[in-house]
């Protein structure tokens, strides 16, 4: 390649070169958005801050390390000087034990990899605390407990007979009963042999439970016949890590959609980044987009905040989610962003992803606009 002969261009080639140069000069790439420039300047600023902080840390840390080292040396010197000379009273030298790979006893392994709690372990966590403190032996408490056992039994019978009535049955219990009720149900679920009654117990627990029962429900979700009931409870009380793990291992798109919808109802600061990760994964994006339809109040502010994320994939996913949410308020906000040149590319991507009539109209206007046309086409291509 280095020794290629260079031929003199013919007149036709020279003209062609001039036309090529003229065409090359027309090339128009998307301009860097003000947000991306701001993000890059901030990134550079952060790198400078980190370096300055590191410098601040290095000084004191080095001083402390030096002081410790000096202290150790001084101490060793003092100890060596003051140590009594060792007098060997027994001149017979003992042979050193021979160590081979076979003779070394391996230490027992103390750590095991993490696994979800078993049903029994979860029940142990949720067991009745009163028995530990001896409260159950008091007559009043024992009578109340006995009453609850009967009511729980009746409730489970009613749910087993008619699972659709579970909400009505659950309404018979007051909030004050819930803590003791879920502990009672946890114990019953573990000891029950009848499959229909066990299903009814899980159904009732799912209807009434608090976050305390989430580990038990998570382990019950591993049992195929109890999974739908357990998931129903986890949709109510499962935290973000639990819902994330379950959605990752969901058995079908419908199940994943329900779990992701539940995820969107959790604290947006924690839930939205996880949700956007699902949206970026080709295997889960359909379920994630569908989940947005199931949420009455999607975390729109958190999604808009993610349009500033330093990662391009996250910004695009947030734009897609916003486009899916749609609505006049969202479209007005996107129009404001276009007008004020704030995250323009992401706003255009959101409009391109939207099915709303207003959003489509606005995007069409952007496509035809001289100023925004190129960015709009690029945004449409990026989806």
């Amino acid at each position: 390649m280095n020794d290629l002969p260079r031929q003199e261009p013919t007149s036709d080639e020279a003209g062609s070169d001039a036309r090529l140069d003229a065409l090359l000069a027309t090339a128009r790439w998307p301009e860097p958005s003000p947000e991306s420039e701001r993000r890059l300047r901030e990134a550079w600023g952060r790198l400078g801050d980190r370096r300055r902080k590191t410098r601040w840390y290095i000084g004191p840390v080095a001083a402390v390390a030096a002081a410790v080292l000096i202290g150790v040396f001084v101490w060793r010197a003092i100890v060596t000087e003051t140590r009594e000379p060792v007098v060997q009273t027994n001149p017979i030298r003992q042979a050193l034990p021979v160590t081979t790979t076979k003779s070394v006893e391996r230490p027992p392994r103390m750590s095991v990899p993490w696994r979800p709690p078993t049903v029994w372990e979860a029940a142990l966590v949720a067991r009745e605390p009163t028995s530990r403190h001896g409260l159950a032996s008091r007559p009043v408490v024992a009578a109340a407990g006995a009453g609850l056992i009967g009511r729980v039994k009746e409730a489970v019978d009613a749910v087993a007979a008619n699972p659709d009535e579970v909400a009505v049955v659950a309404a018979q219990f007051s909030k004050a009963d819930v803590g003791r009720l879920e502990r009672r149900l946890a114990q019953d679920i573990l000891s029950e042999r009848s499959a229909p009654r066990r299903k009814a117990q899980v159904l009732l627990l799912a209807e009434l439970c608090t976050a305390r029962s989430a580990p038990l429900l998570a382990s019950l979700a591993a049992e195929p016949e109890l999974r739908p009931q357990a998931l129903a409870g986890l949709e109510r009380v499962g935290d973000v890590p639990t819902l994330t793990a379950l959605a990752s291992g969901a058995r079908d798109d419908g199940e994943r959609r329900r779990l992701l919808a539940a995820l969107l109802r959790r604290e947006p600061a924690h839930a939205v980044p996880v949700f956007l990760a699902f949206l970026q994964d080709g295997a889960t994006e359909d379920a994630a987009l569908a989940a947005l339809d199931d949420v009455k109040n999607p975390p729109v502010d958190a999604l808009f905040a993610r349009l500033n994320d330093p990662r391009a994939g996250t910004r695009l996913a947030a734009a897609r989610a916003i486009g899916k949410v749609d609505g006049p308020a969202v479209t007005a906000r996107l129009a404001w962003m276009l007008r004020h040149n704030v995250n323009r590319r992401e706003a255009l991507a959101a409009l391109a992803a939207s099915d709303g009539a207003e959003a489509k109209q606005l995007f069409q206007w952007a496509l035809e606009s001289k100023e925004l046309g190129a960015a709009a086409r690029a945004a449409r291509q990026s989806l």
């Binding site: 036309r19 065409l23 090339a27 128009r28 993000r39 046309g373």
Partner: protein, 191 residues
């Protein structure tokens, strides 16, 4: 400059040249989002290796060199992620070399044509793309390009020649169309 710079001066130089580096990355990648990632990575490298800038070359050239290295790593990472072997020498997206079926007068508007040319440049094989962008759009001489890319001067010229030849082929419909229009205009002789 001739002497190494202190960190404050280096910070100022980076901030001065940041927009140029960003535009350069956009031209290389053809995608503003990917370009931002490339520049972020380049900034990290620049921050770590700022002492390697000794002021012997122009700062812009040095920063472009860092951006090119980040761009190459970015491509390799993408190729690995896509399940391909890195460094296959193929562009990410093959350029659309199909001739435009529409008559010239009905073809894309000027803006669309500019976007098309940009897209074709950004989809050339990586080495040719780097050389063409640095030469045609960043205005670097072959010697400067050789310094940025770590190539010999003759290698730069050969890659530039290949890149222009490739672009001539890809834009043949436009070049021919214009020549035809000019030759049909009275008093215009293209030869």
């Amino acid at each position: 400059m001739g002497a190494s710079v202190d960190r404050t001066t280096f910070d100022r130089l980076v901030l001065d040249q940041l927009p140029a580096a960003h535009r350069f990355a956009i031209r290389l990648t053809g995608d503003p989002d990917a370009a931002e990632e490339v520049v972020q990575d380049a900034l990290l490298r620049a921050s770590r290796g700022w002492r390697t800038f000794r002021g012997e070359s122009a700062f812009r050239t040095w920063l472009f060199q860092v951006v090119v290295n980040s761009f190459r790593d970015h491509r390799s990472a993408r190729a690995v992620a896509a399940g391909r072997g890195a460094g296959d020498g193929l562009p990410d997206d093959l350029p659309d070399s199909r001739p435009d079926a529409r008559p010239p007068l009905e073809r894309a508007s000027e803006a669309e044509q500019g976007e098309r040319v940009a897209r074709l440049v950004s989809s050339l094989p990586p080495r040719q793309r780097e050389v063409l962008v640095l030469h045609a759009y960043e205005g670097l001489s072959p010697a400067e390009i050789a310094a940025v890319l770590g190539l010999s001067d003759s290698n730069v010229r050969a890659n530039l020649s290949f890149a222009r030849q490739r672009m001539r082929e890809l834009l043949a419909d436009r070049i021919e169309g214009e020549r035809h229009e000019r030759s049909s205009t009275p008093g215009t002789d293209v030869r």
